[in-house]
């Protein structure tokens, strides 16, 4: 490898072109800065290529097929045949279109695109190694660097993703056929989204999870709604069991689990999907060269402007801490770009909403009732079950609820938890309410179109005020 054969300078060097990096690059360019974006793999990062987008495409496909095959009550009789290779092709088309769009948007905004792996040489210089023998490398001098190297799946001992039957979410989303039987290790959001999708496509899914329930971090009634539907889809759960090993068999694999007490059980499948979480990618960077070190959780620490301890270097997205979500990455990207341009930008938002694309979906933002109490508020809580929503009933999909949490005294909306149809979309209104400092009354007094699911947000706010029409006030 030839080192340093080219050397260029730039105002802002962005490392990684995921939803953190490409957004930072575009916004920095919009601020009038000269920007260089280095990516070693694919524009759009994990999110567009192996995460958010492909998973949601498959989930949508599975939903269409499953809904059509299960609508006898509506008088619809269909027995859909699913060609997963074709679905894969469609998914890839969607991904290509979006990643192509990212590349075009970068160029249209004047961002210099460089392919290769970037490492730090010093506080103002990157080295970029180009892939392939004899491709050489280059140096990029920068005023500011923005690290957006993202995350990768956590490996558990004994399960190596390079072994064929041990699948990461990325491997799974590249499937050309639905496995007949799959063992899924981990009932977090990625494990649950993929398990639900696979079950709808006819796969027999066995989920093993070390903890005692699905979706750690969510409230019991939210978990329950998702677990119940998953069980109805035939997903088998084994809680309190950690995956300790696997062996190949003529038909696939047998996965061994162990309880805390050392009790072992075996589960057979065509393959095993390991989805136990993700860890930040810091080892591609030679952080030592700038004196930075990941914290004990592996993240690069940053301040309210996404700046690291090194003044010239920002870090954003999955590599910079929880929640590891695309829209958090993008927000940090915007703030880092504006800060690099000298604007008084800050990560001063109230809340990062989150969605889980299970069936039913989950959408949450801000505080739960318990969190509000912990924070010293006297919470007023209101709820509207979707089984009292006209729109949900006309969609044949009325499990779940909208809950709104507010400060009883001032009425300020502190958060909301939604589980049910379109929860991922409905949470947007509550996110605006939380961010704006809206009160329960503001939400309740806003006219909501009939018949919509969004009316349930209003009704939940009214319920918290003791003024609901369609539910009995508590």
């Amino acid at each position: 490898m030839v080192v340093g054969d080219i050397s260029t300078g730039t105002d802002v060097a962005v490392i990684g072109a995921g939803p953190g990096g490409y957004v930072a690059a575009i916004r920095a360019a919009q601020e009038g800065l000269d920007v260089t974006l280095v990516e070693r793999d694919a524009y759009g990062g994990v999110c567009l290529n192996h995460g958010c987008i492909p998973s949601k495409a498959f989930i949508h496909g599975a939903d269409v097929a499953h809904e059509a095959g299960n609508a006898e009550e509506l008088g619809i009789h269909a027995d859909p045949a699913v060609d997963v290779a074709q679905m894969q092709e469609w998914k890839s088309g969607v991904v290509d279109r979006l990643t192509g769009g990212v590349e075009k948007l970068c160029k249209a905004n004047g961002v210099n695109l460089v392919e290769g792996t970037a490492t730090f040489a010093d506080e103002n210089k990157l080295r970029v190694a180009h892939d392939g023998e004899g491709q050489g490398s280059e140096s990029i001098e920068f005023e500011h660097a923005i690290v957006a190297t993202g995350s990768r799946p956590i490996r558990i001992p004994g399960f190596d993703f390079s072994d064929d039957p041990v699948l990461s979410s990325r491997d799974l989303l590249a499937m050309e056929a639905v496995p007949d039987r799959l063992v899924v290790v981990g009932a977090g959001y990625i494990g649950m989204e993929l398990s639900t999708m696979l079950a709808k496509l006819g796969c027999e899914v066995t989920v093993v999870e070390m903890l005692e329930d699905v979706l750690p971090g969510y409230e019991d009634d939210v978990k329950r709604a998702v677990r119940k539907r998953a069980e109805e889809l035939g997903i088998e759960f084994h809680f309190g069991e950690g995956a300790s090993g696997w062996r190949g068999t003529p038909n696939g694999v047998v996965v061994t689990t162990e309880t805390e007490d050392g009790m072992e059980t075996e589960y057979a499948g065509d393959a095993v999907l390991v989805a136990v979480g993700r860890q930040p990618v810091t080892d591609t960077l030679e952080l030592g060269a700038v004196g930075l070190e990941p914290n004990e959780d592996g993240f690069i620490e940053t301040d309210h402007q996404a700046r690291t301890e090194v003044d010239s270097i920002f870090a954003i997205g999955d590599v910079a801490g929880e929640p590891m979500l695309a829209h958090k990455a993008s927000k940090e990207g915007v703030v880092a770009a504006e800060a690099a341009a000298g604007e008084p930008a800050a990560l001063d938002y109230q809340a990062v909403p989150a969605a889980v694309f299970t069936d039913p979906e989950i959408g949450t933002v801000g505080m739960t009732e318990a969190e509000a109490e912990e924070a010293g508020f006297d919470p007023a809580v209101g709820q509207m079950p979707f089984n009292a929503s006209g729109r949900a009933l006309t969609m044949g999909d009325s499990d779940g609820f909208v809950r709104v949490v507010a400060d009883a005294e001032s009425g300020f909306v502190l958060g909301g938890q939604i589980v049910g149809p379109e929860a991922s979309e409905l949470v947007a209104e509550l996110a605006l309410a939380v961010e704006m400092g809206a009160t329960l009354e503001d939400v309740a007094a806003t006219i909501h179109t009939h018949p919509t699911l969004a009316e349930a947000v209003k009704e939940a706010a009214e319920n918290a005020m003791g003024k609901a029409i369609h539910t009995l006030n508590r």
Binding site: G411, A438, T439, E441, D442, A445, T446
Partner: protein, 62 residues
């Protein structure tokens, strides 16, 4: 004033104004863009501003 009649205030501030008999259109807004807040409505009352329910009603109609 071409855009007359349009007052930018959240529903809660508009209701407070009604309760206090204040014409919300007469309140100086201190929020972003001049949005009228609860505090602005109260300050308006304390500084001896309009407290005429009939005015407030008439304004609310527009």
């Amino acid at each position: 004033e071409p855009t007359e009649g349009r007052v930018f205030a959240p529903p809660s501030a508009r209701r407070l104004a009604r309760e206090l008999g204040v014409d919300v259109a007469a309140v100086d807004g201190s929020g972003p863009g001049g949005r009228v807040t609860d505090a602005d409505v109260r300050a308006h009352v304390e500084s001896g501003g309009t407290a005429d329910a009939a005015d407030a009603d008439a304004e609310a109609e527009s």
